[in-house]
């Protein structure tokens, strides 16, 4: 279901009816993609849109279009749980800038989607409320951490959903469920009102069924926000069909990459060549170390961001004999095992005596990764790789082995560390019908290039 199709339906039956239909689909969700439905506020806003439309007034670029937001994005008239016990009953007193911007264009938030608790994970199995199932196979994972958003779009509940991407959390679940997932340039979208994970890579972006829809949603949510001092402007999102110079990242075809992924990616490359694009291989030797950098930098940043959860101002509180015990009991009860692992790793790599060996070293290797990207972009418009090394894996397959779980992010984390724009586009399926996505990467601020390339690729697949 595309945004244009929903807009046609709004024209036909009105926003209220369209929103009611989306809510009915959200309530019938069989995959556990949706955590909560927002009904009262959504219907009230639908009526406001209908009133404007009846008067012939401009109701916005997304008038009456229902959407879902990952449950780490603050919304009115709902809980914002981050899929955690810690925030199980948290009701945000204000809304995220991205929600305000979408509402200003007439879009209507009809609910919240499942994620790995605090967005720590790549399968949505770390959700306190239980996993989301893959769109194509109930025994397989949705991917993550924006698994609920990807499945909600893939199963046709809403035409678009918001996710957040710290190391692949939009792109990888999009790949696993056969939808489009855009990680915009770092800083291009405000994070005001988004539960913080790793502040140097977190970015909010859309999951959609078409590249055109991703462009439209990004165009609405992007922009400098006085309430988020890390925001920057990107280049205008113009569409072009100029032939591209594409670099295929050689380091993404080694050990651990599933045969079906290699085949689908190679088929895509052949289609791009046949369509007149120039394709060659490019070497990014430090790419293979990106995951190690990521699992130092991100725990270091998130352990600081999660220090605020003390069970006092908001969140789950457990009683104890003294204040320290209250903190410890609340945090121990409120966080999942993966949250705790990452907090501990983060504090370890930042601790006296290890800071230089781990944290500073990782940030230095990060510079090398950025330099290699810059060199590759001096010779190519766009870089291409698979989005993930495998199609969706089985539920429970990696839960006992954190490191194995981390490997699912190996192809998405380099773009996160470099802050560049990246997208996952459905490219094909495995012999058993599981979707496989291809990732396209362009320099910072060139989201227009990523979107134009993705649109051309989409037309070929």
């Amino acid at each position: 279901m595309t945004i244009a199709e929903i807009q046609a339906r709004v024209k036909e039956v009105g926003a209220r009816k369209v929103v009611e239909e989306a809510i009915t689909r959200a309530r019938a969700d069989a995959k556990h993609a949706v955590l909560e439905v927002i009904e009262t506020r959504a219907l009230k806003r639908a009526d406001e849109v209908d009133a404007k439309l009846q008067k012939g007034e401009n109701a916005g670029r997304l008038a009456g279009v229902p959407f879902l937001a990952k449950d780490n994005i603050l919304t009115f008239d709902s809980k914002t749980t981050a899929s955690s016990h810690m925030l199980e009953n948290f009701e945000a007193p204000y809304q995220a800038t991205v929600i305000e911007k979408l509402e200003a264009e007439g879009a209507i938030c009809v609910g919240k989607t499942n994620l790995d608790a605090f967005a720590h994970g790549g399968s949505t199995e770390n959700s306190y409320f239980g996993p989301t199932k893959n769109t194509y196979d109930d025994e397989r994972v949705a991917g993550g951490s924006s698994g609920g958003s990807a499945v909600a779009v893939a199963t046709g509940i809403v035409p678009f959903a918001l996710g957040s991407d710290t190391g692949g959390s939009i792109r990888q679940p999009a790949s696993y469920n056969g939808v489009v997932g855009l990680k915009p340039t770092y800083g291009s979208v405000s994070r005001y009102g988004v539960v913080a994970m790793a502040s140097s890579t977190d970015v909010v972006g859309p999951i959609t069924t078409s590249v055109e829809d991703a462009r439209l949603v990004l165009d609405v949510i992007k922009g400098v926000d006085e309430r988020d001092g890390t925001t920057i402007e990107i280049e205008p999102l113009l569409s072009t069909d100029k032939k591209l110079k594409i670099g295929v990242i050689r380091q993404c075809f080694g050990e651990g990459v599933d045969e079906s992924v290699v085949r689908t990616t190679n088929e895509t490359i052949e289609k791009l060549k046949a369509a007149g694009h120039t394709v060659d291989e490019v070497d990014l030797p430090t790419f293979r170390h990106a995951l190690a950098v990521y699992y130092i930098v991100v725990p270091a940043e998130l352990t600081s961001n999660l220090a605020r959860y003390d069970g006092i101002k908001y969140g789950t509180q457990k009683d104890g004999a003294d204040l320290t015990t209250v903190y410890e009991a609340s945090r121990s009860a409120g966080f999942m095992d993966e949250n705790k692992r990452r907090i501990l790793i983060g504090n370890y790599v930042l601790s006296s005596g290890y800071y230089d060996a781990y944290y500073r070293k990782a940030q230095t290797v990060r510079t090398l990764i950025i330099n290699e990207f810059n060199k590759a972009f001096s010779e190519h418009d766009i870089l291409l790789s698979p989005t993930a090394p495998t199609p969706a894996f089985k539920l429970g397959e990696n839960t006992g082995d954190p490191l194995q779980m981390y490997l699912a992010d190996m192809m998405t984390v380099p773009a996160s560390l470099a802050g560049v724009s990246a997208i996952s586009v459905p490219a094909g399926t495995t012999e058993t019908g599981l979707p496989v996505g291809v990732q396209l990467i362009a320099p910072m601020r060139q989201d227009s290039v990523v979107l134009s390339a993705a649109q051309q690729l989409e037309a070929l697949c």
């Binding site: 800083g187 170390h289 352990t303 104890g320 781990y358 230095t364």
Partner: protein, 97 residues
């Protein structure tokens, strides 16, 4: 780089305001050492003369006017999420004992 012991895990847990049981600590020792073993590959990367990158936008000192922004929030709305409050204040256990 060294490996983490069970005492290290307990000390880290204390620094992180987390409680870990003995059996949790034993599992964590194994998992954390596996992760740290994985990231030690960075020792193989020559970073001589390379500066670290802590953020990618290059923004520095983003200023705004020092003025009050009205968030239109009531005290009740802000206290609603506090687990324990009284007389319009968040209640905390005694800090100095």
């Amino acid at each position: 780089m060294s490996s983490i012991s069970i005492d290290d895990v307990k000390k880290l847990a204390g620094l992180s305001a987390l409680m870990v049981t003995d059996s949790e600590a034993a599992a964590l020792v194994e998992q954390l050492n596996e992760i740290l073993g994985f990231v030690e590959q960075l020792n193989d990367v020559d970073t001589t003369g390379v500066e670290p990158t802590y953020q990618v936008t290059g923004l520095e000192n983003v200023w705004r006017e020092d003025e009050l922004i009205d968030y239109n929030l009531s005290r009740e709305a802000l206290l609603k999420n506090a687990p324990d409050s009284q007389d319009g204040q968040i209640k905390v256990k005694r800090v100095l004992t």
